[in-house]
């Protein structure tokens, strides 16, 4: 009976460890991908706004 309880406790420990590892993975992913997206959001990205009215684009730049 005590063995059963120990086994149970061990299983829950492992489950917790797995969850923690998974949570860390999720956090790492969310951290890095949200940074990428934040950068993308910073771009003006309005290049399609008025191309239909024939707005000119300068030819030389970096």
């Amino acid at each position: 009976e005590i063995n059963e309880r120990q086994k149970q406790a061990q299983l829950e420990d492992e489950k917790k460890q797995n969850e923690t590892a998974q949570n860390e993975d999720t956090r790492d992913f969310v951290d890095s991908s949200s940074k990428i997206v934040e950068r993308a959001l910073h771009e003006t990205y309005d290049f399609m706004k008025d191309y239909t009215i024939g707005a000119e684009v300068t030819s030389e730049d970096t």
């Binding site: 969850e19 999720t26 992913f29 991908s33 949200s34 997206v37 934040e38 959001l41 990205y45 309005d46």
Partner: protein, 102 residues
Amino acid sequence: MAITQQSDVDETLKRLAGRKGVEGVVILNSDGLAIRSTIEAELTKKYASHVHQLVSHSKDAISGIDSENELTFLRVRTKKHELMIAPDKEYLMIVVQNFHEN
């Protein structure tokens, strides 16, 4: 959309979702299931299934053109908004951007 005890993840997502022009953020796992979402359930499901498949097609296209190349980021511009998609082995982030408000 199970919310676990990862308050930092949820805070990051909340902050991102609160940015000007951002309509919503969805995180998918590698099975294409939404594990986080700031948008309503029905629409989340649609994004999940269609974007998961689109990313898989995009990966195939890129490696089909050059087997040594790899997809890193996808921006899908539509009449109504823009989807920014950050894929990874384990997860995938979808950000719906409403550029008209930007």
